[in-house]
């Protein structure tokens, strides 16, 4: 296996990694399986009663004890997507384990050991399906060898089932545990030399497996970041500068220190500008015996701030400026044909400007981290999506080597990209070091909404031309939004190729002229990524425009999508990119092609399942949108009813999804159900605005997310049968839902939506 030496990852490169998961960790993982450990795979330990046990540990993900206990390591972070269940079940399936007896253990942050742990970009299953299969199959291989030796039968006659090796001819059976001692003396085969199960024999993959944490969650025993605790732990709450990039000029903590329970008040140094993706904001921390004392102490801090250049920033004003900017010519990023010519020859031109606001992640569990710094070492417990990234930056900030930092990953009470950023973990580490106490940093809701790494606002102008033959002849998409890159480097003024590849430059329709242009949008705020990232505004623009184009052409929007996708073909995009590349979510497009046949198939499926074209009463309508993101094909039909008071009800949603091989049907469905709800918030409820650099919203009254009465009533998820390589499902449900809903609102009311969130009264 060829090994590449790549630079150590820093959080500042995370933004590009979200869109481009590196393959280096995959190489390491398979390298490890292929003989990093050849022999000596047994370790020793004791069970709870002190009985001595031997363990077979053929790789870092799996441990089988001589008592037949199977422990599988979940090395990626659980935030509700079900990954603590879905990756382990792949190992268990290949191994032939009795799933009901498998224990799942969370791996600490250690990418040298486990491979990529940055749980982001919907690529856990995509990246680890094959390594997990190999990990299970490797252990199975060793166990079968051991049994075959014992029974003096050919290996080929043996198989595994229910945590036993079975000899098919004689029906002899032996528990895995009894084979551990012998199996652990055998050479570990290379990953390429283990036989994988035939797909028809999968018993967990493709099924509906409940999540492993289910009982702990419903009984309140599950441990989230906020629940982590150690003896002597104190709680810190931080007053951060209300303006990004500002800093503490001076402060008076006399009153804060007078609150019973307050122990210490410590200034936290901020990153300044650029705000960075990993460093804290400037602020003053109050450390107390309990959370309430810390909150009360913080309320009594008197702080004078130096606000810095963002003090004059207004989001409404930036939207006005960007609206003017996108009216002009911009930087060409993808060009096909001659748009000017298409415009000149057009029978009809449709042109609109689309505006979407800043959004906050608003995880119900706010950021939270516990740190203990002692004897030159630091141990962390945190709800992090990126434990290795946290480890690296804590090492840097504390001046310790990475080996001296341990990051334990708790369950994440929602994440959606927010908890990729380790700023809150750095806060805990710094305060633990300076105070000499175990410190848990707690963010209130106000802290979370006002100091998030926001999903950036966007202003986009789209122009579509229809020619004399009633064909869509030209597509021109102008885009302006603060790039994620600007958070680490304020000189970045335009979207990256990665950001544009999320719904803009991957415009898939086969028409004569395509021109994608970008414009400057300066930002010095903390801009980050939110579930499906730039797909949110860019697909809102594309898919609502396409609905209007279909209407102007007097064709059905679904028939139009099938027509414009054209014949069965693989789209590459690369050759039309101007001085750039189409990044295809970090995958080589020859391995993960953009297949029009698969997109057409999900569109046809959703049309059939939703009863597309059915007649609905006045005030009701159906809307359609389709989009491929994170390499998964999705088509969506939303039904709405709008009453005389403009109240929007969503009776049904239908999704058709092609994510290749389906690993856990139940979690695929739950991600789509949740994705529809998440997108409903984006479409109808949520907006962050800033005045004078300060965020206007500070709790769930100002920043609204969807509540049960307004949420979609029925969500049907239709999963395509496929043997193709599996792709992600966490983010793909979000992008097409919002435009499908807006198109349905148009069908119901005759009102087109160009600005989010929807305001039918305005």
């Amino acid at each position: 296996m060829k090994k590449r030496q790549l630079p150590e990852r820093t959080l500042d490169t995370v933004s590009s990694e979200v869109f481009r998961p590196t393959r280096r960790n995959f190489l390491k993982v398979t390298g490890m399986l292929s003989g990093g450990l050849v022999l000596g795979v047994s370790v020793f330990g004791c069970d709870e009663k002190g009985k001595k046990l031997t363990y077979l540990t053929p790789n870092v993900y799996l441990r089988i004890s001589s008592a037949s206990d199977i422990t599988i390591i979940a090395h990626r972070c659980e935030m509700g997507q079900g990954i603590r269940t879905s990756l382990p079940l792949i190992i268990a399936d290949e191994l032939g384990a009795d799933w009901s007896k498998v224990k799942v253990e969370q791996g600490e942050g250690d990418e040298k050991k486990y491979g990529d742990q940055n749980t982001d970009g919907s690529y856990s299953i995509r990246m680890f399906f094959q390594p997990m299969r190999e990990a299970g199959a490797t252990a199975k291989h060793l166990l079968i060898q051991a049994a075959a030796q014992e029974w003096q039968v050919p290996v080929d006659e043996c198989d595994t089932e229910n945590s036993q090796v079975i000899h098919k001819g004689s029906n002899k059976k032996v528990d895995f545990g009894e084979l551990v001692e012998v199996a652990s003396t055998l050479p570990v085969p290379s990953a390429g030399n283990v036989r994988l199960k035939e797909r028809s024999r999968f018993n967990l993959i493709g099924g509906a497996t409940p999540i492993v944490d289910l009982h702990d969650i419903v009984t309140g025993k599950a441990t989230f970041g906020i629940d982590a605790a150690v003896d002597g732990m104190k709680v810190a709450v931080i007053k951060r500068c209300p303006v990004v990039g500002g800093s503490v000029k001076s402060f008076n903590d006399q009153k804060a220190r007078a609150v019973p329970g307050v122990i210490n008040v410590i200034e936290v140094k901020g990153a300044g500008l650029p705000a960075t993706l990993n460093k804290p904001l400037s602020g003053v921390a109050v450390i107390a015996d309990n959370t309430w004392a810390a909150i009360k102490g913080r309320d009594l801090l008197e702080i004078e701030w130096e606000f810095g250049p963002n003090a004059s920033y207004n989001s409404d004003q930036q939207i006005r400026e960007l609206t003017k900017a996108v009216a002009k010519s911009g930087t060409r990023r993808r060009v096909r044909g001659d748009f000017k010519k298409a415009l000149a020859g057009a029978r009809k031109v449709i042109e609109h400007t689309f505006i979407t606001p800043y959004l906050a992640h608003a995880t119900i569990e706010p950021p939270c981290a516990l740190a203990v710094v002692k004897d030159g070492k630091c141990e962390i417990w945190a709800c992090t999506q990126n434990p290795q990234g946290a480890r690296n930056v804590v090492a840097e900030v504390l001046g310790l080597t990475v080996d001296n930092i341990k990051v334990n990953v708790t369950l994440l009470g929602g994440a959606f990209g927010r908890k990729s950023k380790p700023d809150f973990i750095v806060e805990a580490a710094v305060l633990a070091k300076e105070s000499g106490l175990p410190v848990k940093v707690f963010w209130t809701r106000e802290d979370d909404l006002q100091h998030d790494y926001f999903h950036a606002l966007s202003v986009e102008r789209a122009v579509a031309t229809i020619d004399q033959n009633n064909k869509l002849s030209g597509w021109n998409h102008h885009i302006a939004y603060p790039s994620i890159g600007a958070t680490a480097d304020v000189s970045v003024l335009q979207p990256s190729d990665g950001e544009l590849g999320l719904g803009a430059t991957d415009f898939p329709y086969d028409i004569g002229a395509i021109q994608i242009e970008t414009h400057d949008a300066r930002s010095q705020l903390r801009v980050g990524w939110l579930r499906s990232v730039r797909n949110i505004p860019q697909v809102f623009t594309v898919a609502t425009m396409m609905d209007e184009v279909a209407e102007a052409r007097d064709v059905d929007p679904i028939a139009q999508a099938i027509e414009l996708l054209g014949g069965d073909r693989n789209i590459t995009f690369h050759e039309e990119m101007v001085d750039g590349t189409y990044q295809n979510y970090g995958e080589d497009i020859s391995n993960y092609p953009w297949e029009t046949a698969r997109m057409k198939a999900v569109i046809q499926r959703v049309a059939k399942e939703s009863g597309w074209g059915r007649r609905l009463p006045k005030g009701s309508g159906l809307g359609f949108a389709a989009h491929k993101s994170f390499l998964t094909y999705v088509a969506c039909v939303v039904e709405v009813q709008v009453d005389a008071n403009n109240k929007i009800i969503i009776p049904t949603v239908h999704y058709a999804v092609d994510c290749g091989t389906a690993v856990n049907i139940d979690r695929i469905k739950s991600q789509f159900e949740g994705g529809a709800q998440f997108s409903t918030s984006i479409a109808l409820k949520s907006a962050i605005t800033l005045k004078n650099g300060r965020v206007d919203q500070d709790n769930f009254d100002g920043y609204q997310i969807i509540r049960m009465p307004d949420s979609p009533k029925e969500i049907h998820v239709h999963i395509m049968e496929s043997d193709a390589k599996p792709t992600g499902v966490g983010e793909p449900p979000v992008p097409p839902f919002t435009p499908a809903l807006c198109n349905a609102i148009y069908a119901a009311t005759g009102k087109r939506i160009y600005t989010l969130p929807v305001d039918l009264k305005g």
């Binding site: 659980e78 935030m79 509700g80 997507q81 999540i211 944490d213 289910l214 009982h215 969650i217 419903v218 009984t219 309140g220 025993k221 599950a222 441990t223 989230f224 906020i226 605790a229 709680v235 609150v259 019973p260 329970g261 309990n290 959370t291 309430w292 004392a293 009360k296 995880t363 119900i364 569990e365 369950l411 994440l412 009470g413 929602g414 994440a415 959606f416 707690f442 209130t444 809701r445 139940d666 739950s670 991600q671 159900e673 949740g674 529809a676 709800q677 998440f678 709790n699 769930f700 009254d701 997310i705 969807i706 509540r707 049960m708 009465p709 949420s711 979609p712 009533k713 029925e714 969500i715």
Partner: protein, 152 residues
Amino acid sequence: MAQYSVEVNGKSHTVDVLEDMPLLWVLRDILGLTGTKFGCGKALCGACTVHLNEAAVRSCSLPISAVGDGKITTIEGLDDDGRHPLQQAWELHVVPQCGYCQTGQIMSAAALLKSNPHPSESEIEQAMQGNLCRCGTYNRIKAAITSVGSAE
């Protein structure tokens, strides 16, 4: 600071805390009952829902001094074995995604079924509208409550 005697899950505790400390922090920080979650601190999200006698209350906004001799029930005390019909229904429907808001959801649902054992869909929606779920598990929450509410 003042001393308060509170009854939580059938057990009496004496705590010495600031008089305005919300019940949420008494439960979590003083008594170590972390199944009740923080979400907003302003009774806007329902993550901190517990029962005060029979009623669902937002413990983040209920000062300890206002609890008096009311009986508090948290998720830990809803059922001794964690097998309350709603907990079982939640497992059957695999309701949770991240799971963080679910204890509050279950406590709200349990209070609803106490006062209205067979709620309609719109009654469920009204009763549960104070509980936010960012993962979007509303459909399964509704299905789980309906399955218990329609059982005899």
